[in-house]
């Protein structure tokens, strides 16, 4: 049966804008990811791209829910919800059994527990944004790689070269120093991933490690990080091709649930 209620979720992140349109709260009609975050043309472009792909107009959307770092500055939202709730809802839709969700975004990392399909509790990175998506962007740039190439390099690593600095800038210096010693770049990538995994694993442990685990957010596309994190925690981690859209997905579901509640 064709969908008659469309809800749209938009996750306005610090580095990327993600948009997803849902039909009747279940069917993914369209989605868009634009690598430009809040304060840029990214949110508007993501919205337009998702609408265009779905061949819908803004008037066809019954509810728009904004989430993410730039949620409050997105104009036209019917609902504004934290990315913690949206990732919990989105992850639950993707992995109904998951109890713990790890989301590494552009500027923060989160460990989220799911209770009854919703946000139960959470722990976020403190003090600074080390070990987040931005950290990996910086490292990839130093290595003259695209961030999408990191996983492939990691898979070819023979050993892990430890990166100990917490500070992104100091870690960058450490990587440069290793490069000048002509170490294998794959081993260096594995070390970068391990450093992110250790930081993220401590968040998960503080929350309480309750399997099954799932990972959302753009960084979950990096199989090297997922592998390092899985090894660090001693648990399997489920990942979906839609992981980067989890926040927008959860937002669209939230909008639908709100509409249902009104009825």
């Amino acid at each position: 049966m064709a969908a008659d209620i469309f809800t749209l979720g938009i996750d306005v992140g610090s580095t990327t804008s993600k948009c997803l349109i849902l039909g009747n709260g279940e069917e993914i009609i369209s989605s868009a990811i634009i690598p430009a975050g809040t304060g840029t043309s990214g949110p508007g472009r993501a919205l337009e791209a998702a609408l265009s792909e779905a061949m819908l107009s803004r008037q066809d959307i019954a509810a728009v829910t904004a989430t993410g770092y730039g949620r409050n500055s997105f104009e036209g939202a019917d609902y504004i919800v934290s990315e913690l709730s949206c990732h919990a809802i989105g992850a639950h839709a993707m992995f109904p059994d998951a109890k713990t969700v790890i989301d590494i975004g552009g500027q923060d990392a989160k460990a989220i527990s799911i209770e009854n399909g919703k946000l139960g509790s959470f722990v976020m990175n403190d003090k600074c944004a080390a070990g987040t998506g931005r950290f990996l962007d910086v490292m990839a740039r130093v290595l003259e790689l695209d961030v999408s190439e990191l996983a492939e390099k990691d898979a070819m690593a023979g050993r892990v070269i430890p990166i100990s600095s917490t500070c992104t800038v100091f870690a960058e210096s450490e990587v440069i120093s290793q490069l000048s010693k002509n170490v294998d770049i794959c081993d260096l990538v594995a070390g970068i991933h391990a450093s992110v995994a250790v930081r993220t694993a401590s968040l998960v442990r503080r929350l309480g490690l309750t399997p099954p685990l799932a990972m959302t957010g753009g960084v979950a596309q990096n199989a090297g990080i997922v592998r390092a994190l899985s090894k660090e925690l001693g648990e399997e981690i489920s990942v979906s091709p839609l992981c980067q859209l989890a926040g927008a997905y959860g937002a669209a579901i939230h909008g639908f649930n709100k509409l249902k509640g009104r009825k």
Partner: protein, 405 residues
Amino acid sequence: MPDTVEKKSAKVKLRELQDKIAQDAWDAKNRGEKVGWCASNFPQEITTTMGIAVVYPENMGAAVGAKGGGQRMCEYAEGMGYSGDLCSYSRINFAYADLKKCEELEIPFPDFLLCCNNICNCMMKWYENLAIELDIPLLMIDIPHLTKEKCDPERIKYIRAQFDDCIRQLEEITGKKMDYDKLNEVMAVSQRSSKAWLRAVSYMSATPSPFSGFDIFNNMAVACVGRGTPEAAEAFEALADEYEELVKEGKSTFKGEEKYRVLFEGIACWSNLKFTYKALQSRGVNVTASIYGPAFSFLYGSMDELMAAYAYVPNSNCFEKEVSLRVIDARKNKVDGAVFHMNRSCKNWSGKLYEMERQFKEQTGVPTIVFDGDQSDPRAFSEAQYDTRVEALVEIMEQNKKEGK
């Protein structure tokens, strides 16, 4: 929705009293009397009884932070060579000691220093440093950290011996004599103030609470420094009476509907006070529990109990007791969640915060958040990070209410 009421006269009385205490110190200085800089949890009963004017660098640090000068003063101190990891109150004070001026607030320069390590360990080195830099005497009372619930007789004896020695030295420095009959009177007045303060904050258990929990941050200043004066006792009694009346009328100074009630743990982010308050208030979240309620009431009936009272203050008290105080307060005041301030200034407090949060959550079952900040250095605080945590906490509390938790 409870009616919003204007600020009551007790608050004005407290503010005026705070100004008077500050002015008294300036007047004493101008008369040529010896004036001290004093740690906030130093037994004020001594100085009040002896009629010695003291001022509080910690209070100045909070006020400078609240008035927007924290970062400037901290950066100045860092330029002098002090580490940015030191407490921001100490950095503001080091900057002031060197600059001898501060556009937000000034306090008279000291002739001696009174330090007590029950609130903070950094403070010992802070005051030692001041004593050397300003070449003035430092009187230190060492209050051993409690490792169990009760302060034992050995500790009391140890504190009392220092107390007596401190009085003797203060008599030498200031030329003023201790009158032990008057000390008993001051102790009695302090008890009046403490009991009135406790009665005032006890009304937070009402629904709605008769006042915005952030008011505590302002009112506690007098509870901290001036509770030994009859004016303070009267002001706190007036405050308690006003809150009692508001409870009867179902009114509150909290603006808007009190949808959720939370415990706020830690010192306020003075430099970001408005933002931290608004993010909660705009979502209908009122603070109805804070350790500043029970912590700044010193109840005692004898000299020995007075000694023990200064060992029971936060950061000196045993950890399990500290957790239980918060749990009891949270239950009594019916909180739906808790906000923990990871105050980067205070290693003593932040070092135990995660474990405190874990035990609090385990014992109360309410959701909690931790946010990074600092008492007077705004560089440790991120508005977006704080707002996201608060928003998510509200979403969890909303869900819990729906599910009848």
